[in-house]
């Protein structure tokens, strides 16, 4: 197997937390991982992305080739579109619908949605709202991970175990809240799949 995931967002939104969970789950599942990320200047509120590759054999390239991403997981709707050339023909788009506007010329949400729908069956997630329901807006990244979980090639149990390990130091309550968020996102993804 080989799964290629583009994680997208704005510097400071914490896409590397999502990456860390997936990395850990993949490694614990005995798979090979390569995950390229952005450090430095772009982290200051600029567009950031991470190329995450999982396989059951050696992975050569740290970067995903165009047209070969099985999943774009974006925590910001406009950023989701920035990486469309990477998406494979059968690849899936999972994105938050909460815009992060820190520049001029940000398009309308309607225009963004039109473009998102060019990807077939995008999973659209009102992440902040669901995160608040799960207990804190800070869990929105775990909502997003949950929504994308069915397309990662990883068992949900492995992802939940990784969430547990990642948030362990912050106490049982925080772990529980993040797992609740993960499950809420996963449920939404399943609901959208059956609705189609």
């Amino acid at each position: 197997m080989e799964i290629n995931i583009i994680l997208a967002g704005v510097g400071g939104q914490g896409i590397l937390t999502i990456a860390a969970v997936i990395d850990m789950a993949a490694l614990q599942s005995g798979l090979t991982v390569r995950q390229a990320e952005v450090h430095g200047m772009s982290q200051r509120g600029g567009a950031v992305q991470s190329h995450l590759r999982i396989a059951d054999r050696e992975i050569y390239s740290d970067l995903i080739a165009e047209g070969t991403a099985n999943l774009i997981l974006s925590v910001e709707p406009l950023e989701a579109l920035r990486y469309l050339p990477f998406l494979a023909a059968e690849g899936r788009m999972v994105t938050s619908t909460d815009p992060f506007i820190n520049m001029a010329g940000y398009p309308t949400m309607e225009a963004i949605l039109v473009e998102l729908h060019r990807t077939g069956q995008p999973v659209l997630v009102n992440a902040a709202e669901l995160a608040r329901e799960a207990g804190s807006v800070r869990t929105s990244n775990m909502i997003m991970l949950g929504a994308a979980a069915p397309f990662t090639g990883l068992a949900p149990e492995a992802l939940e175990a990784a969430i547990g390990r990642l948030f362990q130091a912050k106490g049982a309550d925080i772990v529980e809240m993040n797992i609740r968020a993960f499950r809420r996102g996963k449920l939404l993804s399943q609901q959208q799949a059956t609705a189609i």
Partner: protein, 533 residues
């Protein structure tokens, strides 16, 4: 041992720790910073009591590491590619003196200039200094090669350059650790014939370095970092560093079988390269960086059987990827979705609430009243002041150049000549330029935006801040009543405009220190009070 998920930069750090280093010397710079940070995090663990505080700049780092090597211990130096320009004097001459304890200089290049002002290729420096250079292509190989680099350094008595690029530095993968080697004992050597580089010694040492070159090439011929992936067909690929990864990705994805010679240790293994060229009709040279060796292999009159960055098979600039290699190998471009027109750029920006914002608000107010409003700036978060809405600065060239360029422009007659520099950049390379200005009594106004940290690279300790910066300026001879301190806050705007106006108008050297903690590091401290004091 289990695999750990490490950035390439961290794999170097772990390799160096397990190779028994006694010290790491570095100045932060993307994409090299995480090497030193990893070692600093391990410091408290008890197993590695490694000296690891940040150096003032790359030159002091390189020299201190050479001193540790002189004393018999192993040391690591880390920097970004442009840092090696700063350290070049120490680095080039350390190849002439040679080393005692193992000395490895890890340099992270930034092709595509993700966070840099150029994409210079440190392999040129390796050739220039005539030292062995290692360029592994995976995180695991980086770990192993870093360990071996120290052995290589001690066996040849030469410094070893370890080159990585952004993509490997900032990509994670599983790394398997092996048993750590203990540190070297202290064993300083009296060897003035090597280390006193007066001409009579330097000539002999340089000849020795030249005499060593065949041995360096022999090491490259047998190095596991220079490995052939056998194959068939008229085309061969010579893949340098992580270009190997992209070549192999395409080769597997398309079920191709061309031979690939990976180069991960320099100087070039002549015999292995000759073997590839004699097997193939043409060779694609793929280098992650400048076409340094493509140019050499083509020769002055241009080899007709060589393809690469110089004939347009690969792009002349920027980092490589599987897509550029696919095209170079003549594979049809895949039909893919395009980026919609509505996707506008999202450039980086100064954080909301950042003190640099308030400084620039005051400064642009003052400068907009001037006929000439040039502001010479420097390298750090405050460089983002070049972008809207501030458009406040007009130069950013190299560490420290704000002060000296302002000085030169003032010498030419420009009034006012204003410089903006951060605390860490000031101690890195700004202080000496300020001394030049004081000695010349040049009319410049130097604004030191002191946020108490090296912020752009993630908040490393600065070499000096607050009262020490004040003391440095006094010590360099700036007049007491023209060293002013302001607090860049909205509530101080009127006062700050007044101070800046006065000092910019002063016909001599003035310094305005805008002092307010970086909001990111303040937030970090709040989250984790035990972190960086």
């Amino acid at each position: 041992m289990n695999k750990q998920l490490l950035l390439g930069a961290e794999a170097i750090a772990l390799g160096a720790l397990d190779a028994g280093i006694s010290g790491v010397y570095a100045y932060p710079g993307t994409p090299s910073t995480e090497i030193t940070e990893y070692i600093q995090k391990q410091r408290g663990s008890g197993t590695h009591a490694v000296r690891s505080a940040w150096s003032t700049n790359e030159k002091t780092a390189c020299e201190a590491a050479l001193g540790m090597s002189y004393a018999g211990k192993r040391s690591l130096v880390c920097m970004k590619h442009v840092g090696l320009n700063v350290a070049a004097d120490a680095f080039i001459n350390s190849a002439i003196t040679g080393v005692n304890g193992g000395l490895v200089i890890a340099v992270a290049d930034d092709p595509s200039m993700h966070s840099s002002q150029n994409e210079q290729d440190s392999r040129v420096y390796g050739k220039f200094a005539m030292v062995p250079l290692l360029e592994p292509s995976s995180q695991q190989d980086l770990y192993l090669a870093t360990r071996e680099a120290f052995d290589l350094s001690e066996s040849l008595k030469l410094p070893v350059l370890l080159r990585i690029t952004t993509r490997l530095a900032h990509s994670r993968s599983g790394v398997k650790e092996s048993a750590a080697r203990p540190e070297n004992e202290l064993h300083s050597i009296y060897a003035p014939e090597r280390f006193v580089l007066m001409p009579h010694n330097a000539r002999r040492q340089y000849q020795h370095l030249l005499d060593l070159q065949p041995e360096l090439e022999r090491r490259s011929e047998t190095s596991w970092l220079n490995r052939l992936v056998p194959g068939t067909g008229p085309l061969g690929v010579l893949a340098f560093g992580i270009a190997f990864n992209y070549v192999m990705e395409v080769r597997r994805q398309h079920g191709l079988d061309f031979p690939v010679l990976q180069i991960g240790q320099y100087p070039l293994p002549r015999k292995k390269i000759e073997a590839l060229f004699s097997q193939c009709d043409s060779v694609l040279v793929a280098e992650e960086g400048y076409p340094v060796y493509e140019e050499l292999l083509r020769g002055f009159f241009g080899g007709r059987n060589i393809r690469g960055r110089l004939d347009g098979a690969l792009p002349r600039t920027g980092e490589l990827n599987a897509d550029s290699l696919s095209r170079a190998l003549g594979l049809a471009k895949k039909e893919v979705l395009t980026v919609p027109d509505i996707v506008v750029n999202r450039p980086p920006e100064l954080c909301k609430g950042c003190g640099h914002r308030d400084l620039y608000e005051a400064l642009t107010t003052v400068m907009n009243l001037q006929e000439e409003h040039h502001v010479f700036s420097d390298i750090g978060c405050y460089t983002l002041g070049a972008l809207p809405p501030f458009n406040a600065i007009h130069t950013c060239v190299d560490m420290g150049a704000s002060i000296t360029m302002a000085k030169g422009a003032a010498d030419a007659g420009l009034r006012p000549a204003v410089a903006v520099i951060g605390d860490s950049t000031f101690t890195h390379s700004g202080m000496t330029g300020l001394l030049d200005a004081v000695n010349d009594r040049t009319p410049i106004c130097v604004i030191i935006s002191d946020n108490d940290t090296t912020a752009m690279t993630g908040g490393q300790n600065s070499a000096a801040n607050g009262s020490r910066i004040l003391a440095i300026c006094r010590g360099l001879g700036v007049e007491e009543n023209h060293i002013r301190t302001i607090v860049p806050l909205k509530s101080h705007l009127a006062e700050n405009i007044a101070v800046l106006s006065e000092e910019i108008a002063y016909d001599g050297v003035s310094v305005v220190i805008a002092e307010r903690e970086c909001i990111e590091s303040a937030a970090r401290k709040k989250r984790n009070p035990a972190a960086k004091a």
